[in-house]
């Protein structure tokens, strides 16, 4: 007898969901929590070696104690950045990146846990120093109010067009290490042109975290952002 052949059919089941919805939900939860506590959260991103930690260290020295700040530092390993930032007196929580896809970015649930170690009632500003990487952190909302990208004049001028998603997602760019310009062939106008091409109108602050040049303009922008959130909340 011939064996029956199965009447095999394929059924398509609609799903229609964002793959990162778990992260997005958690990010919204973080955002609500920061809002309730009156905390302005800023996500600082860059490629490795752009001077992000020095920039934050010098920023903290200028804004504290008037603005009460804390820092969450994401790093693949080591506590070097956290140690440098702790010198400023700001509470620092170090997170070494975890299983959500490895070492390339901070995800919302990591920030949720790290925030437990900070007294949110006691701060106005939460700085989140993301992992040095211009690709993945752009994809992961962590519940921040603003995003800033740091790039430096020792990198290629074309970083903005190589990583457009990052530069589009951010609210401001810091072009660091401008004290080195006399020693380099860096075409600053070209770099700023690329930023404007990818994100027209985005503020670009030219700074040297080392010498302090340009820091006031960037800090002015930051103060204004913090102020407008707190004002909106008190109304």
């Amino acid at each position: 007898m011939e064996p029956f052949s199965a009447n095999r059919s394929v059924r398509e089941i609609k799903v229609v969901q964002r793959v990162l919805k778990v992260n997005e939900r958690m990010a919204e939860q973080n955002r609500r929590r920061f809002a309730e506590k009156g905390v302005f959260a800023i996500n600082v991103m860059s490629s490795p070696g752009s001077g992000k930690t020095t920039t934050l260290q010098k920023t903290l020295e200028r804004i504290m104690p008037e603005i009460r700040a804390a820092v969450i530092v994401g790093d693949v390993s080591t506590t070097h950045d956290a140690d440098r930032l702790a010198v400023t007196g700001a509470p620092v929580v170090q997170v070494n990146t975890d299983a959500f896809g490895g070492d390339c970015h901070l995800a919302a649930h990591v920030i949720e846990k790290a925030a437990d170690d900070i007294d949110l009632d006691d701060i106005d500003l939460l700085i989140i120093e993301n992992v040095g990487n211009l690709v993945c952190p752009a994809e992961f909302d962590i519940g921040e109010d603003a995003r800033v990208v740091v790039l430096s004049v020792t990198e290629g001028e074309d970083k903005p067009v190589k990583y457009p998603a990052m530069f589009r997602r951010c609210d401001a760019a810091l072009l660091n290490k401008i004290d080195l310009l006399p020693h380099l062939d860096y075409n600053k106008a070209l770099a700023i042109g690329y930023i404007q091409q990818v994100h027209p109108g985005m503020p670009v602050f030219e700074i040297s975290a080392r010498t302090g040049e340009g820091m006031e303009a960037w800090i002015g922008w930051l103060r204004e952002k913090i102020g407008s959130k707190l004002k909106a909340q008190s109304q």
Binding site: P3, A6, V15, L20, G101, G201
Partner: protein
């Protein structure tokens, strides 16, 4: 770079989407929509998915990835076009005030599950 994390999320969402009466069925294909601005490398995602889906109802399933272009609309003049290069100013009026209509997707659209509904299916 985080394709393994994405693969794991896809497996979670797809597994949860299999109807209860089909729990023993095999998922043959997962249909995804991934925008060109999403930081995902399709080959790398397929590689991670193949490893991570072992011993799950998705083992051996094909990942079908529809890559969506970056489509923008100018908020000033209404021009609508596909962005091929990283230039985000309106091609018609040069305005920088754009709305990105597509290109950032990272969505599961559907799963395709094989049903064996012949009565003699397992007889030999």
């Amino acid at each position: 770079m985080h394709e393994m994390g994405i693969a794991l999320q896809i497996i979670d969402i797809a597994t949860a989407s299999i109807p209860p009466e089909m729990r023993s069925a095999r998922v043959e294909r997962v249909n995804l929509k991934i925008g060109k601005l999403a930081a995902v490398v399709p080959d790398s995602l397929r590689f991670c998915f193949e490893i991570a889906s072992k011993d799950t109802p998705l083992a051996g399933a094909e990942l079908f990835i529809e890559e969506t272009p970056v489509v923008a609309r100018c908020k000033d003049c209404g021009e609508r076009w596909t962005i091929e290069e990283p230039i985000f100013t309106c091609q018609s009026c040069q305005s920088g005030s754009l709305e990105i209509l597509s290109g950032r997707e990272l969505d599961i659209v559907s799963i395709e599950v094989a049903e064996e509904d012949g009565y003699g299916a397992v007889q030999r």
